[in-house]
Amino acid sequence: MISLKIALRFLKSSKAQTFLIVLGISVGVSVQVFIGSLIQGLQKDLVDSTIGNSSQVTVVNVDDNAYIEDYMTLSMQIEDSNEDIENLTYSLNTPGTLIYNSTTEPVLLRGMELNTVDGIYDLSGKVTSGRMPSADYEIIIGTSLFDKFNLSIGDNVLLQVPLIGETSLTIVGTYDFNVSTINDLWIISNITTAQTILNSGDVVSNIEMQVKDVFMANEIAVDLQEVVANSNYNITDWETSNAELLSALTAQSSSSYLIQVFVTISVILGITSVLAITVIQKSRQIGILKAMGIKDSQASLIFLSEGFILGIFGAIGGVLLGLGLAFTFSTFALDANGEPVIALFIDPTFILISALVAVFSASTASIIPARKSSKLSVMEVIKNG
């Protein structure tokens, strides 16, 4: 291990130079850690806010006006078919018009299975006043609609469903999904209310579910088509219906990879050039070591070790610096609500990989100087005195 010892001593003897190289690698790694965490956080945030509180795989009847009759057995089959499926629930929906005093608004009545609805929609958590519906003919409505009708909790409103007629419903609460199209449109009751109004019997409009890995939704949907084995039922997934979002996410990922590749290249170039200069600086020492009988491979190993050591310290420094940046960013870059502008996602695996890439790049970068030192002839050094 004499090579390692010499490498350490060389690095120690020129502290300023060593510090600058380590700093260079650290800055590279920290940029990688920070940008990576930022983009991953951004993606998670985007995925969460877009599809986190919605159905990711949905079973519907091919005919818009028809229902799913055997939904109980079907639900069980679906749940048993794939471990990645979670939060399964179902609902019966119908469009209608909400009437109160002289005001009317188009709405969508969503008769939901209230025992399981929270898995996907976290409905209880979104109730802003009053309570969840517990009996038939009780509904909760969006805050914006509530204000538009100038309602109070306990008021009765009329729901007119085409071809069926009017039904009186009691407002027991309001909700806020933070999405105006939902707040303006959905009125939510239990499932039997919807079934009674539509006089449909025990049926549902759709079976909704989420999947553990959102990017597996499409694959799972394809598998489910076989499980369902009924050509009247259509299975949709968020990936197919949100192709644009998906391509945006992919573009973001590739831009992140691109940044990381360039950061790595610049780290490699930096280390290679500095170590190449070091070989020239230390050519006298290498020459005398060769006269003393150091093997070419041992001489190369000195510079490979230098690269490796620089990589290790650069990686450690970079990870600390990157996490520091991330911490500063999420502490000081706040939006109006005092929440971080972007919630960073700190992924230990990703950070470990970034660190390993740095160590690997630094070691790779030292190959050229190492080869150079191995070719260095003692005669050159002695002649040049």
Partner: protein
């Protein structure tokens, strides 16, 4: 007496386009435990000769046999091993590793073998430093020593692996005359104590005359070769 170095028909030509022949059909041999000096004007080829003997340079043609081994057939790694075990170098510009202390520099030839520094080895290094009179500064970095101290450290280092041959190229070239005298006394002492063969290049005739044998190189050929009869 046994011959420790034998050179037969050694030629050295530098350059490919413009060729300069530095050594012409040299035939030389050195006996074990002898103390030899090589003199000659600058450009005479004496340094080239020493570097070829030390396997730092390769002869264009001819044979170099060291300790019975023909160096022509050795791989780069085996040449390195030969230098490490059999040869010790002392250069005009001491060439210590400035990043290391005197003691570490002395230990370096031993540590190149990747062997553990045992108590005995450390004791030998201390003994050598004592021999060259540097015990008090052995933990100084090489850069914090005087020229004479550095040269004496280099001598101790050359002896570390108990080589059979020590090659010295103007070992006192940049030392004052008092120090020069001391260094030569030291080399002579080592020659007697450890039975090491010495080949020393010098341009100082007074120094050369203290050797058992004087070889003068002129224009790449042996011009004078005289031995003191013991």
């Amino acid at each position: 007496m046994d011959k420790v170095i034998e050179l037969t028909n050694v030629n050295k030509i530098y350059g490919t386009v413009v060729q300069t022949q530095v050594l012409f059909d040299l035939n030389l041999s050195f006996e074990k435990e002898s103390f030899n000096s090589i003199i000659g004007q600058s450009g005479s080829g004496k340094s080239t000769l020493l570097n070829i003997i030390g396997t730092l340079d390769k002869a264009t043609s001819g044979e170099v046999i060291i300790n019975g081994v023909n160096t022509k057939s050795l791989s780069k790694n085996n040449l390195a091993k030969l230098r490490n075990k059999t040869l010790g170098f002392i250069f005009q510009f001491h060439y210590l590793l400035p990043e290391f202390t005197a003691l570490e520099n002395v230990l370096m030839p031993y540590r190149i073998n990747n062997e553990k520094v045992t108590k005995e080895v450390l004791a030998r290094a201390d003994e050598l430093l004592d021999l060259v009179g540097l015990s008090s500064v052995k933990n100084n970095l090489a850069v914090n020593m005087s020229g004479g101290q550095q040269q004496r450290t280099a001598i101790a280092r050359a002896l570390m692996n108990q080589p059979e041959i020590i090659l010295a190229d103007e070992p006192t070239g940049n030392l004052d005359s008092d120090t020069t005298e001391q260094v030569y006394e030291l080399l002579r002492e080592i020659n007697k104590k450890y039975k090491t063969t010495f080949i020393i290049i010098t341009h100082d005739r007074r120094i050369a005359e203290k050797a058992d044998r004087i070889i003068e190189i002129k224009d790449g050929k042996v011009y004078v070769d005289v031995s003191k009869t013991v």
